[in-house]
């Protein structure tokens, strides 16, 4: 099935949460079919930005525009094509992997034949097929995140927004998780991946570096490093921290 491609353009997004200016005029472009890394330390505004893209938060100022091959499209018409994986644990501890998948099948009204095929495929690539009856509360950190990703991917979304999915996950599971994302990226899915791990920037097609609600750098992973004249993202963050920007 040919999946519709989605891009997102945001323009001068500002959002205040309580006394804090969580986003301070962020403008950028998340291009169709690419894997975008939204990178920044805790409190940089990554979660607020993702929630704003999903209409879970309304910006105080600025616009969010969804596009398909450069043409503007209405958010409501593609809403069910956008999947989201929140930062905090949001699955049901007492529901098994199988029950979670059935639940999301029903929520997204996926036809049974499509569902069975997709489910088998996802269980295979996440290697969770041996644990389908295990409750989410008894899964390891990596398995739990993979289940979250599976639930998000079940409906074959055109865009997926992941909020720190590798946070607290062991290195092997992290590697598996990234392999999975690269595989998805080839299916023309827009992936926006928020993370505080600097090393993950180099695995993305595009990086957007956020600090205290502002975008301080963006581009290809290599391009950003060359412009900033540093060798790695760790070095970039050390440099920025010394400048007092982070």
């Amino acid at each position: 099935m040919q999946q519709m491609s989605i891009g997102i353009k945001i323009n001068n997004i500002k959002k205040k949460l309580g006394p804090n200016q969580a986003l301070n005029g962020v403008s950028t472009h998340f291009e169709e079919g690419l894997l975008h890394g939204l990178i920044g330390p805790e409190g940089a505004g990554k979660t607020t930005l993702l929630r704003t893209l999903l209409n879970l938060l309304t910006p105080d100022e600025g616009t969010v525009q969804f596009t398909n091959h450069g043409t503007n499209i209405d958010y409501n018409s593609i809403r069910s094509s956008i999947a989201y994986m929140p930062q905090q644990q949001s699955l049901y501890a007492d529901l098994s992997i199988s029950e979670h998948l059935d639940f999301f099948r029903d929520l997204y009204q996926i036809p049974q034949d499509v569902y069975l095929k997709r489910r088998e495929e996802l269980l295979h690539i996440t290697r969770l097929d041996k644990f389908i009856d295990r409750p989410a509360g008894k899964l390891s950190g990596g398995m739990y995140k993979k289940l979250g990703l599976m639930c998000a991917l079940l409906q074959s979304p055109a865009a997926i927004l992941l909020d720190e999915p590798t946070n607290g996950v062991d290195p092997i599971s992290r590697r598996e998780f990234w392999d999975l994302l690269h595989r998805l990226s080839k299916e023309n899915i827009l992936i926006i991946f928020a993370t505080a791990y600097m090393d993950e920037a180099e695995r993305c097609d595009r990086v957007h570096i956020l600090s205290t609600g502002s975008l301080i750098a963006e581009g290809t992973p290599r391009g950003v490093l060359e412009r900033e004249n540093v060798e790695s993202y760790d070095a970039l963050f050390i440099k920025r921290a010394a400048e007092g920007v982070l």
Partner: protein
């Protein structure tokens, strides 16, 4: 507005909720043990027919007639006689010290006046601080006075007008007959408001609401989906209460079971929707539980007519009780259970309940936030 209600999505929420209920020992215990416990506690412990009332007798006459009068009180089974410890003041002080609820004071000329003039007086002092007991004692006094007249004069006093009293629906004024049908109301109210008050708040607390809100599911689908399994639990609780009432307390069910079940269903939906509204407005389980207790337990116990008659309330509080679903179902429950009332007798309470259910569901849906704005 992009609003499409999809019954399949609502059912998927219901199925998920059913898993939570079946796997949560707290919810299951609440749903099964609480109704039985409440029926037993209220049914066995609450007794409106006051017995063994402490009565201090100060008999200054100490004659055959005064002793006969005291005997009338002691043989009535309602009173336990406490002999006076000295003076009249001591007899009154017994009310202060809670030794007695009433004092009977017989003056020295009691028998003399009876024999010489054909009539005599004794003083009966009541503890007005406990006005419910005082009211009950006062009710007994009419019968006791008649019995005393007969015992002391040997003749039955014929009143010019005599009102013959007969109690319909509960001939012996049995307390469990009065209490237990009302218990169905209290049990459903407490159970359902508490259960649903926690359900949405729990989703906010454990973060699953953020995920749910990013899916196509609509607020009404979440609300209806969550109502379905709790409605089934509530109906099971009602059945349990009715069975205990009939088999355990021997209360006759005079009305139509189907009509009672229908009334229970609407009432259940109203209470569940009330809990849901609390849960939608309050995003923490602890606070939701406290508000559910205050708005659910207290009104259904005190302002539904369960124990205290609504007719004796001042006009404004009495009108206020009309916004409480438990007031309407109390009328339905007692009406069907004891009186065998049919739908035509109970139109108004049914309409009241139906309107309240609809208003509560609509309000909960409207107030359901589809975003994460604080």
């Amino acid at each position: 507005m992009n609003f499409k209600f999809n019954i399949k999505r609502a059912l998927s929420i219901a199925k998920k909720e059913q898993f939570h209920i079946m796997r949560d020992p707290f919810t299951l215990t609440m749903a099964t043990v609480l109704p039985v416990l409440l029926v037993l506690i209220f049914g066995l412990a609450i007794e409106f027919n006051v017995k063994d009332i402490g009565l201090t007798v100060h008999d200054s006459d100490r004659t055959f007639s005064s002793r006969k009068l005291v005997e009338v009180f002691s043989s009535s089974q309602y009173f336990n006689i406490n002999p006076s410890r000295g003076s009249i003041v001591d007899a009154i002080n017994d009310l202060d010290s809670e030794r007695s609820k009433a004092s009977l004071i017989i003056e020295p000329e009691f028998e003399h006046n009876l024999l010489a003039h054909g009539n005599t007086k004794a003083q009966f002092v009541l503890d007005g601080a406990d006005n419910s007991t005082a009211g009950v004692i006062l009710g007994y006094l009419g019968g006791i006075q008649k019995a005393a007249n007969f015992k002391l004069t040997g003749t039955l006093v014929k009143e010019p007008i005599e009102l013959k009293t007969r109690y319909l629906f509960n001939p012996e004024l049995s307390s469990p007959w009065f209490i237990v049908p009302g218990l169905a109301v209290v049990v459903i109210a407490i159970l359902s408001i508490l259960l649903t008050a926690l359900t949405v708040a729990r989703e906010w607390e454990n973060g699953s609401m953020e995920l749910l809100l990013s899916t196509p599911v609509q607020p009404l689908e979440i609300i209806i989906g969550k109502l379905i399994p709790y409605t089934v639990i509530g109906l099971a609780a009602v059945l349990l209460v009715v069975l205990v009432a009939i088999l355990g307390f021997g209360i006759p069910f005079a009305g139509n079971f189907i009509l009672f079940g229908f009334g229970s269903l609407i009432f259940l939906i109203a209470c569940l929707a009330q809990g849901m509204l609390i849960s939608v407005l309050i995003r923490t389980q602890q606070l939701a539980m406290q508000i559910a207790m205050i708005t659910g337990l207290l009104p259904s116990l005190l302002m539904s007519g369960f124990i205290f008659p609504l007719e004796s309330m001042p006009k404004y509080p009495q009108n206020f009780t009309s916004i409480l679903p438990s007031k309407w179902f109390m009328i339905i429950s007692r009406g069907i259970f004891l009186k065998g009332a049919d739908f035509s007798d109970l139109k108004l309470p049914f309409i009241g309940l139906f309107l309240l259910s609809a208003i509560l569901i609509i309000t909960a849906t409207k107030k359901f936030k589809k975003d994460l704005e604080p």
